[in-house]
């Protein structure tokens, strides 16, 4: 019991960020060079465009144990590929609503538009999302307390 509370006290949410290469990733970079502080909970994967983000990325991340996922891209109308973020917006919208319907806390999947110059915004978004994740707690969605290995019949 004591070890558990110790573990939980030390727990830091793991946030996976998919940032588009032209705007958001550059914005994150600028945050770094401008020495804008934001929590180190985020791990960043650079994708060419927010339109590259498949709902499978979000599901896989949650399945693997990440506490939250953030997708960030260019503002609508400013996409480097013209329309990528429009497609992303539709996918993000239905995924958000659907995951919440299923019982996944909305804080676990967040999205933002962040341009290459918006270092402050990026730092704020990450800080905010991390705070939200700390409130909802560790991702226990896919954890199974029962025995997995089927010595008893399954199905």
């Amino acid at each position: 019991m004591e070890q558990e509370t110790k573990k939980e006290a030390k727990w830091e949410p793991k946030l996976l960020g998919f940032l588009c290469r032209w705007c958001s990733y550059a914005g994150a970079d600028l945050a770094g060079t401008s020495r804008k502080k934001y929590p180190a909970n985020i791990r960043i994967i650079r994708i060419p465009c927010s339109g590259r983000a498949d709902p499978l990325f979000i599901l896989k991340a949650l399945r693997m144990g990440f506490d939250g996922v953030l997708i960030s891209g260019c503002h609508p109308g400013e996409c480097h590929y013209q329309t990528g973020n429009y497609y992303a917006r539709r996918r993000i919208a239905i995924t958000k609503k659907f995951l919440e319907y299923l019982g996944i806390e909305p804080e676990r999947f967040q999205a933002s538009w962040c341009s290459a110059s918006e270092a402050i915004k990026f730092a704020e978004v990450v800080t905010d999302v991390t705070k939200g994740l700390k409130e909802v707690g560790p991702n226990r969605l896919f954890i199974d307390e029962r025995e997995e290995h089927g010595a008893k019949a399954s199905g």
Binding site: E148, H149, G150, A151, K152, A153, S154, G155
Partner: protein, 344 residues
């Protein structure tokens, strides 16, 4: 030598057996019948039970099982095999499903003795329950299987209205019966009643197929693409008929790795899936009609050629559960009887 037990006392009987075994009995989950771990009190299945959706093969070849776990240490890999297998007692298995297990035994004992499957078989007891109300999709009688008699169970229960007649079939069953209390002796009249019940149940299986020379007829039709394309046209290539077939045994093996630890799993697979036979350079069963032909021939031609028995027990699940009502009995009836031509 037979005994009997009142239906009211089945709960007590299962509890008694539950002290030595993990007891499985029919249960309904969301309206779907399956063999589940008996909860200790519910015997309402006696009112509705005809047969389960998931066949009892799941108790021996589970839909998913861990074969072993492994860890990479400093001196190589350490393997850890699963612990002792629980003793299990499957109550209410139908003769068709029990025969299916004997058919599966032939494969798992063949070139390699599968310790997982055979370990479970060794550690379990099958308590058969004879049918009184066969479904209209059942056709066990055409395959030489009786809905009421079985050599593949350890004890056989026959429904005689308010009671069950219990017959010993194997030595294991005899042993179990000897150590079971609460059973009564049977009278001549009750034995006769059981016999009549069995005859009645047998006559209620109305679906029949002609299995005469079926292996030869299928062999002769093997290259008849027009025939097989027409047969396969409405199949959707899902896995229902195969995964829920009591004699199907195809499985997939996957390793799952996280860091330096992992486990190897075996899980059900289906020859109906398009990618089942895919290899790097080709897929010999890429066409749907290849796969449908494979399913029919495996059951009715290849298995008889290898093991002298048709690998189908007429349980009818494939007919009941297929989303497009693809019916194997219709297919078998329409296999061209070209035997005369071939012989000439």
């Amino acid at each position: 030598m037979s005994r009997k037990i009142s239906k009211k006392d089945i709960g007590k009987l299962l509890s008694q057996w539950g002290e030595k075994f993990t007891v499985f009995a029919p249960a309904k989950d969301e309206g779907m019948a399956k063999m589940a771990e008996w909860d200790g009190k519910d015997t309402s299945f006696l009112d509705w039970y005809r047969n389960t959706v998931v066949p009892p093969k799941a108790n021996f070849l589970p839909s998913m099982e861990k074969m072993f776990s492994f860890r990479q240490g400093e001196e190589g890999y350490q393997l850890e095999t699963p612990s002792e297998i629980d003793k299990q007692l499957v109550f209410g298995i139908r003769p068709c499903d029990a025969r299916a297990l004997s058919i599966l035994d032939m494969t798992f004992e063949d070139a390699y003795e599968d310790p997982y499957y055979l370990g479970r078989r060794k550690n379990s007891l099958l308590i058969g329950l004879g049918c009184t109300n066969p479904c209209d999709s059942c056709f066990c009688t055409s395959l030489g299987i009786s809905p009421t008699e079985s050599n593949d169970v350890d004890l056989m229960f026959t429904d005689i209205d308010d009671e069950f007649l219990i017959e010993e079939v194997t030595d294991k069953g005899k042993e179990l019966l000897a150590s079971t209390s609460g059973l009564e002796e049977t009278t001549e009249a009750e034995v006769t009643k059981a016999k009549e019940a069995k005859e009645k149940a047998y006559s209620r299986v109305t679906r029949t197929i002609n299995t005469e020379a079926i292996a030869d007829r299928l062999l002769a039709s093997f290259d008849n693409q027009d025939f097989w394309e027409q047969i396969a046209a409405k199949c959707l290539s899902c896995g229902i008929c195969t995964l829920l077939c009591p004699t199907c045994y195809c499985f997939d093996i996957n390793d799952e790795l996280v860091g330096k630890e992992g486990a190897r799993f075996r899980s059900w697979d289906s020859c109906g899936f398009c990618l089942y036979t895919k290899m790097p350079m080709e897929n010999p069963r890429h066409e749907k009609w290849h796969r449908v032909r494979q399913r029919v021939c495996h059951k009715y031609e290849f298995y008889p050629m290898n093991f002298d028995v048709i690998a189908c027990t007429g349980c009818g699940r494939c007919i009941r559960l297929c989303p497009v009502n693809w019916d194997i009995t219709q297919t078998l009836e329409s296999v061209p009887a070209e035997l005369e031509k071939q012989k000439a």
